[in-house]
């Protein structure tokens, strides 16, 4: 792997073509499940091993995925679904992203975990649970998922509903959206306690030191 030449070019072309086909299918299923339109450009690039990420949604709305990720069944599907969720996320723009990274990446990552089995069923894909668990366990975005789960369980909102509602809220307003749910629910000491929990999680989600 990694050697130049016609064989390598053919292999990259095959990876690109298969990813393109599967991303189109994921897009249709996500639009169906969420009811949101995807802004994905329809372009996917196979990224070389020299890039330091698994996949990325570019600001042009192209998707890039590293070539070795595209050759590992579970990493390929989890990365494709994760990157396909960014273009259905409301208000993902440069400024809102840099100020609210966890409110985007944590939500997209947890939505990926919640929705993937339904996508696998629809596409008749078999994935190894042990591999999926290992991929989940090693993801840095667990920092964000953990804080979102703290807030969700405190609010007592069902998982899928919580993450899909947040995906549909503009990214710049997600933090306030969640805070307001608690503000409208509690008074007195319970409200103070909510504010403490919220502020602690919000700091992590915004990466405020």
């Amino acid at each position: 792997m990694g050697q130049p030449g016609p064989g390598r070019q053919q292999r990259i072309a095959a990876l690109q073509s298969a990813a393109q086909r599967d991303l189109e299918q994921i897009r249709r299923i996500l639009e169906d499940i969420t009811g949101f339109n995807s802004l994905w450009s329809g372009n996917v690039t196979v990224e070389p091993l020299s890039v330091d990420y698994l996949g990325v949604k570019q600001w042009s709305c192209d998707i890039g995925i590293r070539e070795d990720v595209l050759q590992h069944r579970e990493q390929r599907w989890t990365t494709m679904i994760h990157e396909s969720l960014h273009p259905v996320s409301n208000g993902l723009q440069r400024d809102s992203y840099s100020a609210n990274q966890g409110w985007e990446e944590g939500i997209v990552e947890q939505a990926q975990r919640i929705l993937r089995n339904r996508i696998f069923d629809r596409l008749n894909i078999s994935a190894r649970t042990s591999q999926l668990r290992d991929i989940d366990r090693r993801n840095l975005y667990n920092d964000f998922v953990s804080e979102l789960e703290t807030l969700r369980t405190r609010l007592g909102i069902e998982s899928e509903r919580f993450y899909l509602e947040l995906l549909s809220a503009p990214l710049a307003e997600r933090s306030q959206f969640v805070k307001t749910i608690g503000d409208n629910r509690w008074v007195g000491d319970a409200l103070d306690e909510w504010h403490q929990v919220f502020e602690q999680s919000d700091k992590v989600l915004r990466r405020v030191l």
């Binding site: 091993l49 890039v51 330091d52 990420y53 698994l54 996949g55 990325v56 949604k57 570019q58 600001w59 590293r66 990493q75 440069r94 400024d95 992203y97 840099s98 990274q101 990446e105 991929i135 090693r138 993801n139 840095l140 975005y141 920092d143 990466r207 030191l209």
Partner: protein
């Protein structure tokens, strides 16, 4: 290694200036040469790439309007 890679990945996700991003990006690249299958650092790489691209664009817009 487990502690080192999580600490590096967290620093990647806390980088908020172009200078911080470039410094931690170099560190991550060197780390990944030694640990190419480190999913924790690779998972943080996405956010770093998006953040860098957002900040570079912001600088370009600022310069163009100056």
């Amino acid at each position: 290694m487990a502690e080192d890679n999580i600490e590096l990945a967290r620093r990647m996700s806390y980088a908020r200036t172009i200078e911080e991003i470039q410094a931690v990006k170099k560190e991550a690249h060197e780390w990944l040469q030694q640990h190419p299958d480190d999913l924790t650092v690779l998972s943080a790489g996405e956010g770093l790439a998006m953040m860098e691209s957002a900040l570079v664009n912001k600088e370009q817009v600022k310069r163009a309007s100056a």
